[in-house]
Symmetry: C2
Subunit: 193 residues, 2 copies
C-alpha cells in the first residue's frame, strides 16, 4: 500500500510531476510557478515548502543537501520509487465528468505529465478520447441552460448572464477542438515520429 493519504492536492501532484522531470529544489520549483503559465497552482513559499515536507514525510520524494555555488545550499528533491508509483496511479485515473466540469485545469496538468506515464501514447489517446466525450456532453448541457436563460428573460436583448454563459460554452468548444486536434496528431505520429 502507498504511504500517506490516498489522494493528494493538485499542488502536490504538480510538484511530483516537475520533480519527475528533473531533480529540483524548492526554490527552483517556485520559480517555475512564478515565471511560467503554471502559476495558479500557487507559488507561495507558505504552500510549496510545507507540501514538499509532506511529500518527503510520506516517502514520495527525497531531498539531499546540495552545496550551492553561492548563497545558502539548496535542498534538491528527487522522486522515490514510491513517488513514481503515486505519479503513475494519478496518471492512470479515469477522466470523470466532474473533473472536466469542475477541475479542467488539474486535468490539463495531468495531461502535461502524461508524457511520463507507462505506455504513454496509449494512455494519452484514451485520456483525450474520454475528455472529448465529456466535453461534448457538457456542451449539450450548457446549450440547454442557455435556452433556459433565454426563456427567463424574453424581452431583454442581451443579458450579462447570457453572455457569461456564452463565454463558458465557447471555452468548452475551444477545448474540444484542441482535444480533437491533439488526438489527431498523436494518432498519426504515435507520439514519437
Amino acid at each position: 500500500m502507498t504511504p500517506g493519504r490516498a489522494v493528494r492536492t493538485t499542488l502536490e501532484y504538480a510538484l511530483i510531476g516537475l520533480i519527475r522531470q528533473m531533480p529540483r529544489s524548492g526554490y527552483e520549483l517556485r520559480k517555475v510557478f512564478v515565471e511560467t503559465a503554471m502559476a495558479g497552482y500557487s507559488g507561495s513559499p507558505g504552500a510549496i515548502y510545507p507540501a514538499l515536507r509532506r511529500l518527503e514525510a510520506d516517502g514520495l520524494i527525497q531531498g539531499t543537501k546540495q552545496p550551492g555555488e553561492r548563497g545558502r545550499p539548496r535542498r534538491e528533491y528527487r522522486l522515490t520509487p514510491a513517488g513514481e508509483a503515486v505519479l503513475q496511479e494519478w496518471l492512470a485515473q479515469p477522466v470523470t465528468r466532474d473533473d472536466v466540469a469542475l477541475r479542467l485545469d488539474e486535468l490539463m496538468l495531468r495531461f502535461a505529465f502524461l508524457a511520463y506515464a507507462a505506455d504513454s501514447t496509449r494512455r494519452t489517446l484514451e485520456f483525450l478520447e474520454s475528455l472529448e466525450a465529456h466535453l461534448e456532453a457538457l456542451l449539450v448541457d450548457l446549450h440547454q441552460q442557455i435556452e433556459a436563460v433565454d426563456a427567463a428573460s424574453r424581452h431583454v436583448p442581451i443579458t450579462h448572464a447570457r453572455l457569461a454563459l456564452e463565454a463558458g460554452i465557447s471555452s468548452i468548444a475551444d477545448r474540444l477542438r484542441w482535444a480533437r486536434e491533439a488526438r489527431a496528431r498523436f494518432s498519426t505520429t504515435g507520439g514519437k515520429e
Copy 2:
C-alpha cells in the same frame, strides 16, 4: 466605512450577486450552484450557510423567516444598503492582470453581475476593454513561453507540455474573441435596444 473585512471570498460575492437578483434562501442558492454552470463556486452546505452567516453578521444581507408552504420554513435573504454598497464597490474594481491570468472565472462572475452596476453600460464597456488589453498582453507572453519550450526540446516532435500550453493559449485567444464580440454588441445596442 464598510462593515466586515475589506475583501470577500468569491463565494460571498456570488451569493451577494444572486441575492441582488432576487431575494433567496440558502437552499435556493445552493440549487443554483448545483444545477447551473455556477458550480465551481461550491454548493456544499458547509460552505454556503457559514458564508451567509458571515454576510448577515456584517450587515450585508438580512434574513427573514419565511413560513414555507411545505417543510421547514425557509430563511429568505435580501440585500441591505450596505450589501449593495459592497456589491457596487466590487463591480467598480479595475481589471488587473493577475485577475485575468489567475482568476478569470471570478472575473466572469463579476461580468455577469455588471448588469447591476450603477452606470452599467459604461462600466461594462470599460471592463471589456480592459479585459481585452490584458488578454492580448497575456497572449504575447504565452507565445514567448512556447518558443522557450520549443527551444528546450528541439528534437522531440510534440511534447505534452507544449500541447498543454497550446490549450492555454487557445483558451485565452477564444476569450479574447468573446470579449471583442461582446463589446461590439454592447457598443451598438448600448446594452438596451
